[in-house]
Symmetry: C3
């Protein structure tokens, strides 16, 4: 397991939700909820991170997550710099660690990293100076911790804190999904009643993974009496891998439609990490319908990132 | 006509100058002039938009207009984020409206949009939440309202407010020019004495368009006793369309030179929206000469964008 | 020589270190050292440049130098805008000077320019309005003045101010290096005891250049009793030019290794402008070893850029 804690046990990095306790998660969600409550039409802002500098290193394109972290940092008073390091590094052949040490010497207090290679985030975290924190903004198929937290916050807002009473269904390409892995970690830590993994056999995770999940090979089984329905984005190359010829066929088997959603509880909420393939994994009638909380997820994303940045970066006694 | 007003009749979006009254234009120009007056060597700045977040969505390259809006927003205390959404959207196939709703959920107060597709700006404006304003930064061949306002401001500064006494000549590719369309709208609203459209037949607008304009097929006719001479940028593919073989030939027929400019009034001013093709639509001797107010246009551009952002985004009673 | 001074003799631009006096250099280094001293874990910041706008124009990729100038400007309270002008200019064929005048009209107070074409920085400096300053961030093979200053600061921190007692060896592709040229200028101005140019014949500068330098064709000769060892980055195409077939051969002849470094003084420091080609011009054992001050150079880079921006841009009497 990646070591993301300080010697005193407090969280220094946020690389994975694995090993984070229910108490810690509740505390982060409470802090996030404070920022959500402060959201009127205008975004809340304070100066908690004034004087700090945060570097965004996104080596995969992601407007939503990058801007979400950027706004979270700025609304806390930090400088946020978007770094296009991999491009410049490639041009000159600079190694990843030399780049990081160079940036560190420029006095960055934190790095927010999205990368398609597993292990890069932890590698950086293991090599930065003691006062620097590293936040994952999505790593390979492995982990997307702030997405997990915002999903948990969204469920808590709509279904309350009694996770042990809830049935949550995650539908789609679970095998290759960092969103599903972080959702599994956070919901398991929060003691969810039943966590269903709904996917065709080819997209089901390996047998050792998601040990507490209940595997369902049909959408019908997965949706029955569910409280929370979370559709994942499906990519064409993955359909082929699952022997599904195209988007229409996927929609026919696993697309979330209004008639199918009737199998879930009448007050079930529908989530999606975005961007959506409308007409493939979800019908527009559902995405824009009364049970959808998809936009709330985005709004919660900024609040969660503000909470996480503030909680881990707050000036510590003995700091400068 | 695009609806860019609130139910109480006040301007919420700025998509087109069509339908904006002379009183409203005068008020925006007065406010702009205030910012111009404050311009010494140092840029003026205040905190009128503190706490607000503005997103720049430029899907066509335009350093000048993008930076002009960015500086205008920042000098009013707003956060301005440059969003490269179309790129990221293309990569993942995200639809325009999902992108906009996602950004909205991140608590943007305004979007500044430049797009080569007609209707995109109005489409976004029609679909954002009630507290969000949308500003066009140039749309297809149709509209470039802040350019129209800065052109009007520049004329007013040099020729005074009696537009009914003025002869204004717009020269070049009027058919495909959003600059010409917005200039036509603003000068018509301000009651200009005579507005001449000077172009070869192939670049003259369709017969229904620019109804109050006087069409001139030669530069000589167009320039005679003009008070304001506005040259437009011409592109190679358009020359061909007008059966003009190359830049030299265009310059021979429609290029603004010092001898030709003598046909205009001795105190005529010369304008150009930039970037210029020196030696094609304008001679350097004219562009850099004593009658040129081209740099003043750029300076007025920041002032106009500050005025427009502040006027439309000012905290309303009942806002957060 | 480029004119980078105001009529009263004070520095207005920073294009080259040529012609800058020892007193001026000492004053800039003292000011830089003040910012280094303020560096704890947190970066120092003040509002010395509040209300000013700085434009970064980097037409060559350079994350480190661009971010270093960006952070320097922001930590002094200035707005810093990254301008991608050359790209946009290419698209529309806008000329360099029109671009600069346009930006000037947007009220920029300073431009930071990196360009691969010799003369571009001076050309811009010669054409901007009197209140605008221009800073080179690296120009062709000619000049990289802030790198020269940060190198001098690093030497002074570790070896004290008696440059006349020091032997400094610059190793590598001196012929094509702006880093070497600016180092030569600053160390010569500071009265260095001996400045050695260590390179294969094909990478030695032309005979008229670096007149006070002592040329050494072997690493052994160059390192003997040196106090400061500065390795330069070598590029593949340059090796070929020097009739060195590949990186391994270069490393065999000019690579800085621990055994070779023993020829220098035991307290010699090792510098490199970065990015490094580990295993080509420098061994990792040296780069990460106890004599390396490479990371200190980066940290000093932000301090030097803060000092230079503040010294040249400070509000002058009579300014707005």
């Amino acid at each position: 397991m990646t070591d993301q804690r300080r010697p005193d046990g407090s969280l220094r990095h946020l690389i994975t939700l694995e090993g984070i306790s229910r108490t810690e998660i509740d505390s982060l969600l409470d802090r996030s909820q404070g920022y959500v409550r402060a959201l009127g039409e205008r975004a809340p802002s304070n100066r908690a991170l004034a004087g700090m500098t945060i570097g965004n290193l996104f080596t995969e394109p992601s407007t939503r997550t990058r801007v979400s972290f950027e706004l979270a940092g700025r609304r806390l008073g930090a400088e946020v710099i978007n770094l296009e390091v991999q491009l410049s590094s490639r041009v000159k052949g600079e190694s990843m660690l030399d780049t990081i040490h160079t940036l560190e010497a420029l006095h960055f207090d934190a790095f927010v990293i999205r990368d398609s290679e597993p292990g890069v985030v932890a590698h950086v975290a293991a090599n930065v100076a003691a006062h620097v924190s590293v936040f994952s903004a999505g790593e390979a198929h492995q982990s997307h911790p702030t997405q997990g937290l915002l999903d948990a916050l969204t469920v808590r807002q709509h279904k309350g804190g009694h996770f042990e009473r809830l049935r949550i269904a995650i539908i789609g390409d679970i095998r290759h999904s960092r969103v599903a892995r972080s959702a599994y970690e956070v919901f398991t830590a929060l003691g969810v009643g039943e966590l269903r993994l709904v996917a065709p056999a080819g997209l089901m995770p390996a047998s050792g993974e998601f040990p507490a999940g209940k595997r369902c090979l049909t959408l019908e089984e997965g949706l029955a009496d569910a409280d929370v329905v979370m559709a994942l984005r499906i990519q064409k190359e993955r359909m082929t891998q699952a022997e599904i010829p195209n988007g229409e066929e996927y929609f026919a088997r696993f697309g979330l439609t209004v008639p199918r959603l009737r199998r879930a509880r009448p007050d079930a909420i529908v989530m999606h990490p975005q961007p959506m393939n409308r007409g493939v994994e979800i019908d527009s009638e559902v995405a824009d319908g009364p049970q959808s909380v998809i936009r709330a997820q985005v709004r919660n994303g900024v609040a969660v990132r503000m909470a996480v940045l503030e909680a881990l970066l707050r000036p510590r006694p003995g700091g400068a």
